[in-house]
């Protein structure tokens, strides 16, 4: 168990925010988190971002955010791990506070994806792949999801329709989340008829990109108890990596980094997978949700999709996932996504999840995955008792 607790959270709605700049997006989430924590004493800022250099012509987000948020002087930098940047930034904040060198740290995930039109976002997302041996052949991030899904279907004998339960669940939960990008419910029969994006991945298999920002403030637990009524403890925190390129993985259909990071986080927390009340996983594609459930130990190899079929992932199921809509319905703001996951688990544990509330949730897990398995960040949060 770490000595680090969450004292403040904030988030913006994920959407096309044409009237909001990168810096304003970050500020809105930070402002909410600072208000929530009743403090403006921030010693270090970790910005989770993947693509601002390419999509907004803006690097150096540490200084930008510290400056614009009125926190000039704070230690600040960007943490990048493709679409796991947000989770990786969270991990750095935990390390910093746990070390004792930083008293209070702010994590802000921010991504501005809708300022660019055409295929620039596709190209930017693809920079998370191996540039020399994947992207050079025209492979995209969506294409990687499709290669995984095709092989999963072939190897385990499942069809496209068998993945529908993941998106139906995500949209059902997103419908109850006012901050979700998509609040429409989805019918299983419409899922299988959706247009193809990268065969066999269709429009309803993949998470939509959007603009968004989320923020989390952490400090040492003994201080947290004096500062806010309901601090949420970081019980476990871990990052693991696998081969960058999909073609180099030991087993294409096994998210080794996800498995390793879950095991490390559970060991640190002194818990087992059975103790987890909800799991915010990285459902960038339906097949990624299935693979993450398997790697975390909630399903055997090749059987993750059955948890969706059987309703075990619903809010009243054995292992609820995507409880605010997940990447699929809440939206996937790239490098900010991992911080949204932490905010959402914290809301569940505080009992402030509104219509998305999992009754009696005490321990929650968040997992942010970069480039379909090359990096995986797992955090386990628990009610401070």
């Amino acid at each position: 168990m770490s000595d680090v607790s969450i004292i403040g959270i904030g988030q913006t709605k994920v959407q096309e925010s044409w009237d909001t700049s990168l810096r304003h997006l970050a500020w809105y989430a930070i402002e909410e988190a600072l208000d929530d924590a009743h403090t403006n004493q921030i010693d270090a800022i970790y910005v989770g971002n993947m693509m601002a250099g390419q999509l907004s012509h803006q690097s150096h987000l540490g200084a930008l955010v510290a400056d614009f948020a009125g926190l000039r002087g704070a230690e600040a930098m960007t943490i990048e791990a493709a679409d796991a940047s947000g989770g990786a930034a969270m991990r750095q904040a935990v390390l910093a506070v746990q070390s004792g060198l930083v008293k209070t740290a702010l994590v802000v995930g921010v991504e501005k994806m809708t300022d660019q039109t055409g295929n620039l976002v596709t190209s930017a997302m693809s920079t998370g792949l191996d540039a020399d041996y994947e992207a050079v052949h025209g492979l995209t991030n969506t294409g990687v999801g499709a290669l995984l899904m095709r092989r999963y279907m072939h190897q385990y004998g499942v069809g496209v329709a068998d993945f529908a339960g993941f998106s139906v669940n995500a949209h059902a939960n997103g419908a109850d989340n006012p901050l979700a990008m998509f609040r429409n419910r989805l019918k299983a029969e419409r899922f299988a008829a959706a247009p193809l994006v990268a065969d066999p991945v269709n429009l309803f298999d993949m998470a939509p990109g959007g603009d968004g920002s989320a923020a989390v403030i952490v400090t040492r637990n003994e201080r947290a108890m004096d500062m806010v009524p309901r601090p949420v403890r970081i019980a476990g925190s871990a990052i693991a990596t696998d081969t960058l390129a999909l073609h180099d993985r030991e087993n294409l259909l096994w998210l080794k980094a996800a498995e390793t990071s879950v095991q490390r986080a559970l060991a640190a927390a002194g818990l087992t997978a059975d103790d987890i009340d909800l799991f915010e996983l990285h459902d960038s594609f339906t097949v990624m949700a299935a693979l993450s459930l398997e790697a975390a130990g909630f399903a055997a190899k090749g059987e993750g999709w059955q948890l969706a079929r059987d309703g075990q992932i619903h809010r009243d199921g054995r292992i609820p996932i995507s409880t605010f809509g997940g990447l699929k319905a809440r939206g996937n703001p790239g490098g900010a996504t991992g911080v949204y996951q932490i905010v959402e688990v914290a809301r569940q544990l505080r009992g402030s999840a509104g219509d998305c509330q999992i009754e009696g949730a005490k321990i929650g897990m968040a997992q942010n995955v970069g480039s379909n398995g090359a990096s995986a960040v797992t955090h386990i949060l628990r009610v401070n008792e």
Binding site: G138, L246, D248
Partner: protein
């Protein structure tokens, strides 16, 4: 233009030159100098035969910059005869004949272009194996 970035990979792009592990004999492509299996040094060059079979594949409709003219195109994971998977486009075949397990062989093709005046990047793609078809 990124001439040197592509030029320095000519041996890989045109001839599938990878490496062999000194210790366990594993063949590596792309070359990475450290064996994926046993982490021993793997610096001895090895030229792959260029034959293999389709392991997974997808058709890309939403193409990144430089590939717009090719879309839709098919990218596959090809399992090379010597073991490794390689990412490459499939070519010279109808979409409905592609299937997992299909025998393929390496050919050299145009990969992408940087506008009408820019550099053309060539490299490996895979087509139906001629030998297997006879």
């Amino acid at each position: 233009m990124e001439v040197s970035r592509h030029w320095r990979l000519n041996e890989q792009r045109y001839r599938l030159v990878g490496e062999t592990c000194d210790s366990c004999g594993t063949k590596l492509f792309p070359p990475r100098d450290v064996c994926l299996e046993c982490a021993a040094p793997a610096k001895e060059l090895y030229t792959f035969t260029g034959t293999g079979e389709v392991f997974s594949y997808t058709t890309i409709y939403d193409a990144p910059a430089g590939f717009e003219q090719n879309a839709p195109y098919t990218v596959a994971l090809v399992k090379l005869e010597e073991g490794p998977l390689v990412t490459a486009q499939l070519t010279d075949m109808a979409k409905d004949e592609i299937h997992i397990g299909m025998p393929v062989e390496m050919v050299t093709r145009k990969l992408s272009t940087d506008g009408p005046e820019g550099m053309i990047v060539y490299g490996y793609k895979f087509r139906p194996a001629v030998v297997a078809a006879l």
